[in-house]
């Protein structure tokens, strides 16, 4: 089978034409680096993405601390992850790198704070 993938690994956004059978990728063209091939294999077997969102903060100089995942999770679990993150509230101060959820839903990555929110 042939299919064109848009690689999301970096801003180059390579258009990769892949020839594959099931999860067996026979040939890829159009990728500028080896990560493109890995991306195609991952997309065929278990597509994964990271997400970024915010968590409420009490007692801070801003109402929200932005957060992100430290690794990609299966696409199908994104909305479960949003529910788990939205259930959390932080007390100020929050600092970049603080872990909000360790090992999110057993998926092997953490939710970390990406904005400093000082206490008022």
């Amino acid at each position: 089978m042939k299919r064109v993938f848009t690689c999301v690994v970096c801003p180059n956004g390579c258009e990769i034409e892949a020839d594959y059978e099931g999860a067996d990728v026979r040939a890829v063209t159009g990728n500028l680096c080896p990560k493109g091939r890995d991306y195609v294999v991952q997309e065929l077997v278990d597509p994964r993405r990271t997400i970024a969102t915010s968590v409420r903060v009490t007692g801070g100089d801003q109402p929200l601390a932005s957060v992100r995942l430290t690794g990609a999770i299966p696409k199908a679990r994104i909305f479960d992850a949003m529910r788990a993150i939205n259930a959390r509230t932080l007390a100020a101060p929050a600092a970049i790198g603080d872990v909000v959820i360790h090992d999110l839903m057993g998926l092997g990555c953490d939710v970390i704070v990406t904005r400093n929110v000082p206490k008022v």
Binding site: V8, G13, E15, Q62, T114
Partner: protein, 411 residues
């Protein structure tokens, strides 16, 4: 009047990077003036990741990317005044500003660094017919509400324009439980990056309708629907193709405009193609000692390149401040076939510089050529060239002569 060596207008990614590099180059008397309460500029609300891949080799969110620079600016003891609005800059580099803490200020500078960024085109610029209900936001305003102020903007959304911030907001609103019904783009190709089409729209089954626009806005107090229509090759709606789409929110992602009111006050001449200043290879505007970089000069896709450009600016500005002048740039850089604009527009022919450009329309398997008279300075094959992706090339001085204009073409 207070005198400063360098005054930087705007404490976003360009201003912060310029400040740090100036300091490294031995310029100690630096002042950053920032309109917002905090440094960081637009990065503060760009909470998605993908920033810093070039610069730091890792995928950071906007606030993290900004904080790395802010921490270094603070550690270097560079002075910044926030909550400060600059009112005027004169051609002889007198800066007038007001701030809550310092009141009215008039400052004299040896060099003025313009890093004010850009702003969004609004509904007014589109002149879309219809009523004037609540529920219509530019993508960046919606982003500020959701990511900074914890205010959800709506539940049923239509997005007009396929700029990157609109695509990012389509995903962001979907994650927050809104239903994004579709993205409508008047051009026959997307204006955002391909990876954002993939990870913000395709991942969430949000349809992208090319060659479509909103032709009417309906609703009294709150938006109740928009009417969309297919467009012909000259962006005119085709009668009979209208479709009404119920929604409570319309997000506009229809272009960014460099914010140059202060530049104009300083009599800096603007290029109608970039809507930023005409600059030479030193990123110096037509007014000696006034420099510009980042989105105020030309709208970038990636902050990593904004930082790099601002650092190049600071190298030149430091040289200007030490020597009192920079080599004259008498050669023109012209946008040739399929090239929308180029930066810089003037060069000396004696130094390395970074050439930035965008193509006018999507092209495949083409050759980018930089010519100086009969001499080919650089020639590069491109698999694809998209208007959404800025092209940047390092041009080496040894390939240049001092006696002919330069032309850049893609064909």
């Amino acid at each position: 009047m207070t005198h400063r060596q360098a005054i930087i207008i705007g404490g976003g990614p360009a201003g912060l990077a310029a400040a740090l590099r100036l300091k490294e180059r031995g310029v100690d008397d630096i002042l950053i003036l920032e309109r917002e309460h905090r440094l960081g500029g637009i990065l503060r609300q760009c909470i998605h990741d993908g920033f810093g891949l070039t610069r730091f080799g890792e995928s950071l969110s906007g606030p993290e990317y900004a904080q790395r620079f802010i921490d270094r600016v603070e550690a270097a003891g560079i002075e910044a005044i926030t909550d400060c609005t600059v009112l005027d800059i004169t051609p002889d580099k007198t800066v007038t500003a007001v701030s809550r803490v310092h009141g009215f200020m008039q400052l004299e500078a040896d060099a003025v660094i313009l890093t004010m960024g850009c702003r969004e085109r609004t509904r007014g610029a589109l002149a879309t017919p219809g009523t004037r209900p609540a529920g219509i936001y530019t993508a960046g305003v919606a982003q500020s509400y959701i990511n900074l102020q914890n205010i959800m903007v709506g539940r049923e959304a239509v997005i007009l324009g396929s700029g990157d911030i609109g695509l990012i907001m389509a995903r962001r609103m979907t994650l927050e439980g809104a239903h994004v019904k579709g993205v409508y783009e008047v051009q026959p190709y997307p204006s955002g990056l391909p990876r954002n089409i993939e990870q913000c729209l395709n991942d969430y089954d949000i349809p992208l309708h090319l060659s479509h626009t909103v032709v009417e806005i309906r609703g009294r107090e709150r938006l109740t629907s928009v009417v969309v229509a297919r467009c012909d090759g000259r962006f005119r709606p085709i009668p009979g193709t209208e479709e009404e789409i119920p929604c409570d929110t319309l997000i506009l992602s229809v272009g960014l405009i460099p914010e140059n009111e202060l530049s104009l006050a300083a009599r800096v001449e603007l290029d109608p193609r970039t809507r930023g200043a005409f600059v030479d290879e030193h990123l110096q505007t037509g007014v000696p000692g006034i420099f510009a970089a980042g989105n105020v000069l030309h709208v970038h896709d990636l902050v990593d390149f904004v930082s790099l450009e601002a650092e190049a600016l600071a190298d030149s500005a430091a040289e200007y401040l030490k020597g009192g002048g920079l080599p004259a740039c008498g050669l023109e850089v012209k946008a040739g076939a399929n090239v929308g604009h180029v930066i810089p527009q003037k060069i000396s022919g004696t130094r390395d510089f970074t050439l930035s450009l965008r193509v006018r329309s999507p092209l495949k398997d083409v050759r980018l050529t930089v010519r100086q008279g009969d001499n080919t300075v650089l020639s590069k094959k491109l698999r694809k060239a998209l208007p959404a992706e800025m092209l940047q090339l390092a041009i080496r001085a040894e390939k240049l002569s001092r006696d002919a204009d330069v032309e850049v073409s893609v064909e």
